[in-house]
């Protein structure tokens, strides 16, 4: 569904490339999590897909075709996009916010209304209560639910999520993570999610890609990474908290 081949991206004034010769792929319906500390290049990698940024070298295929081949706006409208601070339009109601992707594609107001209300229900916000409110009247968790609804309203087959739960408190984060997993089981989207939270990666990713200083150290399933770390960095990352991880998994199952 998405495939990176030797992709490199540098920013002016910084010596080390933000993304350094990265290659990986995501199968249709699969959830891949890019894991790494801040500045490792994981968000940059994600933004290269919907061309918020363009690479210096390498190629990115989306649905089998280079992502530069489709008109930019069409490409973006075919991909759901969720960011850490949500980015709801402060002067639009919740319903208008959810319907925003439909509005720019010329969907009729009546259909916008039906679909955005359905999506609010899907993310467990009662449309009766929330549709007419404004973003600043909602809690952080509720706002991010709206953000997810907005990303899904156009029924894209690909969803990009950039630290979607990073700004939320632990309890809210956990419930939203569970819900994302539930949603994904229902909807079967192809998802690339970026996080610095090891537990989140383990909870949501079918496969996890570990990034460090612009390089993709290893991509694999949880057991690949735990049992066959390809680099010292991965071993370090997954080795230390191994005991905690076991406890964590026990507590979840």
């Amino acid at each position: 569904m998405i495939e990176f081949t030797n992709v490199t991206k540098s920013f002016p004034g910084i010596d080390r490339p933000a993304v350094d010769d990265v290659s990986f792929f995501i199968e249709a319906g699969e959830t891949v999590v890019l894991l790494g500390s801040s500045g490792c290049g994981k968000s940059t990698t994600l933004r290269l897909i919907n061309r918020i940024l363009d690479p210096d070298a390498g190629e990115i295929l989306v649905r089998g075709k280079p992502n530069t081949e489709r008109p930019l706006l069409q490409l973006r409208r075919s991909i759901g996009y969720v960011i850490q601070n949500v980015g709801l339009f402060p002067h639009w109601t919740i319903e208008e916010n959810v319907a925003a992707p439909l509005r720019i594609s010329g969907v009729s107001p009546a259909e916008r209304r039906t679909r955005s209300r359905r999506l609010l229900e899907l993310v467990e916000l009662d449309p009766e209560e929330f549709a007419g409110r404004y973003p600043d009247e909602l809690s952080g968790g509720q706002q991010q639910r709206v953000g997810v609804a907005r990303a899904l309203v156009g029924d894209p087959d690909i969803l990009l999520m950039d630290e979607p739960f990073g700004a939320l408190d632990g309890v809210t984060r956990e419930s939203l993570q569970q819900e994302t997993r539930r949603l994904n089981e229902e909807l079967g989207k192809t998802i690339l999610l970026v996080t610095h939270d090891l537990f989140e990666a383990l909870a949501l990713g079918d496969r996890i890609g570990v990034m460090h200083e612009g390089r993709l150290e290893q991509v694999g399933t949880k057991s690949d990474l735990l049992n066959h770390p390809a680099t010292p960095f991965v071993r370090e990352l997954f080795g230390k908290p191994a005991r905690q991880l076991e406890l964590y998994r026990e507590s979840r199952s």
């Binding site: 918020i52 996009y81 960011i83 980015g87 709801l88 992707p101 720019i104 594609s105």
Partner: protein, 520 residues
């Protein structure tokens, strides 16, 4: 109320031409400008700095700068007002656009908003309430500054204020200032309401009440604009605007009583002696503006004083040995050569600066000439007009030639100078020798015993081109030579300033008595 038709004209002019038009043009300039520089910090700062500098130019200076380019009338006034209106709109638009969090823009881009969709649906619609509040500021500024554009003959409520000041009529002043203040409050309220209504989120309480009041205000403006009012004569013409009709002579005047009387005199004389029509563009804001208006062809004719023409307009020095005739010849030649203007025969009186004191003080001390003051100057408090303070033929020269060193000096507005000396707030003023208030307040002028002041013979100045186009005009104007002596001029000024009579009527009575004498 006799002033109502005039108030209606000037109020509507003030609202539509001098406020809404410049604000509208400023919106069309400032918002696209803000949008195009919003993401380029260097241009952004430059745009704010440049419009900020424009904002600091004093209004009258701005009008004076525009004079050589656009002459007088509504065009330069609208341009100046537009320049003043740009800054608040630009600043607020930029501030409103910057208030939008970057995540919101990233979300919009990521969703596939096109550049224009993002601009209109997200950025501008978010900034709208703040932009409206900038428009509100600009509007209130325009209503205020527009009262000054009367000085270049652009009309509006400033006509009332200017005439009130120059003719010493408090009622006119209050009508003009009151109407301008009411207009400012009304527009402020309407735009404030618009800003509140556009704000996202819960509607503030009382908004419907505000809408109702706005509706009433607008309805009353419409009613005031269209309800017929019976027009009565007797209004003092303000500086009219618009292009000249063929066969029309446009007569200008400065903004004090004598000049308005002289403008009336020229107008009625031309109407009586020729078939030409006249247009009165009186009350222009001072010597420079009248002169620029004449050379730019915005007016055809006004009365200038020979000494002012020589020293202020031509920038020459007075030859101490020169007679009044010599001075007149000198300016006549220079005006022909430099400006293609004709200086016509003088009217027969001089309006010179006159060092003036209370008559009881003059008697008590036995002072009759300026030199008598020299030894006592340090005990005296002097009050002069701002123009007199600066002019070479004013205070500076007076101090140099006589060695006067006054104990205290203050700027006084011309209309305040006479009561101030009469009441003893000051001891010495620089009066105008033909002012009716010299007699009224029991003042005496001191003799210029060292012949410091140049002659100030009043003479009409006309555009050569006009005189050539209408050959009957020059002989008619020449007949005016010597018609008015100093006492006659003082009498006319007195009738307007002190007796509060209408200048048009005063001049009509004067000319009728003259023509009767001619017939006898």
């Amino acid at each position: 109320m006799a002033r109502l038709p005039e108030l209606r004209t000037t109020l509507l002019e003030h609202l539509f031409v001098l406020t809404l038009l410049p604000v509208g043009v400023a919106v069309l300039i400032a918002i696209p400008l803000a949008v195009s520089v919003r993401n380029i910090p260097v241009l952004r700062s430059a745009a704010i700095a440049i419009t900020g500098i424009v904002q600091t130019i004093p209004s009258l200076a701005m009008l004076a700068f525009l004079l050589p380019l656009f002459g007088i009338g509504k065009v330069p006034a609208v341009i100046a007002l537009t320049l003043y209106a740009i800054l608040p709109i630009l600043q607020n638009t930029l501030a409103g656009l910057r208030d939008l969090p970057p995540d919101v823009l990233e979300a919009a881009d990521g969703m596939g908003f096109s550049k224009w969709q993002r601009l209109f649906l997200v950025e501008l619609s978010f900034a709208l309430p703040i932009i409206v509040s900038g428009i509100r500021t600009a509007t209130v500024i325009c209503v205020g500054v527009a009262t000054l554009s009367t000085f270049i003959g652009a009309g509006g409520l400033g006509d009332f204020i200017n005439r009130g000041l120059s003719l010493n009529r408090m009622s006119l002043l209050l009508i003009g200032a009151g109407a301008a203040a009411a207009l400012a409050l009304m527009l402020d309220f309407i735009l404030d309401t618009a800003g509140l209504a556009l704000r996202a989120g819960r509607r503030p309480r009382g908004l419907f009440g505000r809408f109702a009041i706005c509706g009433l205000l607008l309805a009353s403006v419409v009613a005031f604009a269209f309800v017929p009012i019976e027009r009565k004569g007797g209004a003092i013409p303000g500086p009219g605007t618009g292009g000249p009709a063929p066969g029309t002579v446009r007569i200008g005047s400065k903004n004090f009583t004598e000049q308005i009387v002289l403008g009336e005199l020229l107008a009625q004389w031309i109407e009586a002696k020729t078939d030409l029509r006249t247009e009165r563009r009186f009350n222009l804001g001072g010597t420079m503006i009248c002169h620029e208006a004449l050379t730019a062809g915005a007016i055809d004719l006004y009365v200038e004083y020979s000494g002012t023409a020589l020293l202020t307009l031509l920038g020459r020095e007075l030859d101490p040995g020169a007679s009044p005739e010599d001075v007149l010849e000198e300016i006549r030649a220079a005006y022909r050569q430099r400006f293609d203007l004709e200086v016509l025969p003088p009217l027969g009186f001089e309006n010179t600066y006159a060092v003036t004191i209370r008559s009881d003080m003059a008697k008590e001390r036995g002072w009759t000439k300026i030199s008598d003051l020299v030894d006592h100057a340090s005990e005296l408090r002097a009050g002069f007009t701002a123009e007199f303070m600066e002019r070479e033929d004013g205070l500076r020269g007076l101090v140099r030639v006589y060695g006067l060193d006054f104990g205290s000096l203050g700027d006084l507005a011309p209309e305040l100078m006479y009561p101030a000396v009469a009441q003893g707030s000051v001891d010495v003023i620089g009066a105008f020798s033909t002012d009716g208030r010299i007699l009224e307040f029991d003042l005496v002028t001191l003799e210029d015993d060292r012949k410091f002041f140049p002659p100030y013979e009043a003479a009409p100045v006309a555009r050569r081109e006009l005189l050539d186009r209408h050959p009957e005009l020059e002989p008619a104007l020449r007949e005016l030579g010597g018609l008015l002596d100093g006492d006659a001029m003082r009498g006319l000024n007195h009738a307007v300033d002190v007796d509060k009579r209408n200048p048009r009527q005063v001049v009509r009575d004067f000319l009728e008595s003259r023509l009767d004498k001619e017939l006898l």
